[in-house]
Amino acid sequence: MTTAPAPRASAAPLSLAFLAGALLTALGFAFVPFLIAGAPIESTMGPVQKIFYFHVPCAWALMLSTFTCAGGSIAYLFKGSARGDRVAVAAGELGVLFGLCVLVTGPLWGRVAWGVYWQWDARLTSSLLLWLVLLAYLLARRYGGPAARRLAAALSLFAAANVPLVYLSVRIWRTIHPTNQVVPTLQPGMRGVFWFSCLLFVALWGVLLALRVRLERARTALEELSLDIDDHLDRADEATLRPTEALS
């Protein structure tokens, strides 16, 4: 398996486009609570339904992260792409982050809507399982030994296979969780706020992914530089030894 040459770690400041994207995303996050507060209140669940405007985008970010992680892992496993591996680890971390957001915001909503924080129904259980598999991906990368990256890459494929199960769980099994038909049937006043929130979370996801990939690229360059230093010093040692060998 051939690997790509080590990337050159850029100590240059982050690009203007990246900074602009990050700033816009932060401003959007500061502004979106006002939009959510102004959205109509749902008649059945009342004000607590507004958690929907970030719970659902977090869930979509979780699924997007899982598929991206799996895609990067496939590129690494079958093409030896170091870039694919960097994207995979970045997406894996984002999957754990947004998965945690889903698993916290959902029960907060459930406590008011259902009276309990948690139910072992199909959607909640499969979401928890997906999050645990992504966590296992990160742990395998960290502690998996020499073949850690390959082992973790295989785990990410398992996580990606779980995503359709999570999405369709409300259709396959009888669950307490709202169905996938909620979004297409939103009231007009809610639709705009929801899609804006989704766009914001996708933008946030993109910014975080770019930042994390940059860190991974820097770490790879650091490893390569360390090896170069060792080679350089070995050659320097050999050069100083040769005259003494000639004398003896």
Partner: protein, 104 residues
């Protein structure tokens, strides 16, 4: 003085004794399982009228949104610090490589 000889019981009475013992144990187990439920049932008091649990939704919405903010910020700080540290190490190594620093 009579001596009682302990002879083994015939098969049918032995089986009957075993069945009696099993029945006694089963009764104890079922009673042990049912009694707490029955005691709890006695505590049930039917209430009239509507007594809905009032849970303030605002706190939960704020908590959910606040958690997302905190989680994202913590992650950004973690990545930014890692990036700064790694870039500093890379710069140090490049300096050594270009300067030809001696082995420590």
């Amino acid at each position: 003085m009579s001596t009682r000889v302990n002879r083994p019981l015939p098969v049918a009475p032995r089986r009957l004794a075993l069945l009696r013992r099993v029945r006694a144990v089963a009764l104890v187990v079922v009673a042990g399982w049912l009694l707490p439920a029955l005691a709890w049932a006695d505590n049930f008091v039917k209430f009239e009228g509507k007594a809905p649990e009032e849970i303030p939704a605002g706190k939960f919405i704020a908590g959910a949104y606040g958690f997302i903010w905190v989680a994202v910020l913590v992650y950004v700080v973690f990545v930014a610090r890692g990036l700064a540290r790694t870039n500093a190490e890379v710069a140090e190594l490049r300096r050594k490589l270009d300067g030809g620093a001696p082995r420590a």
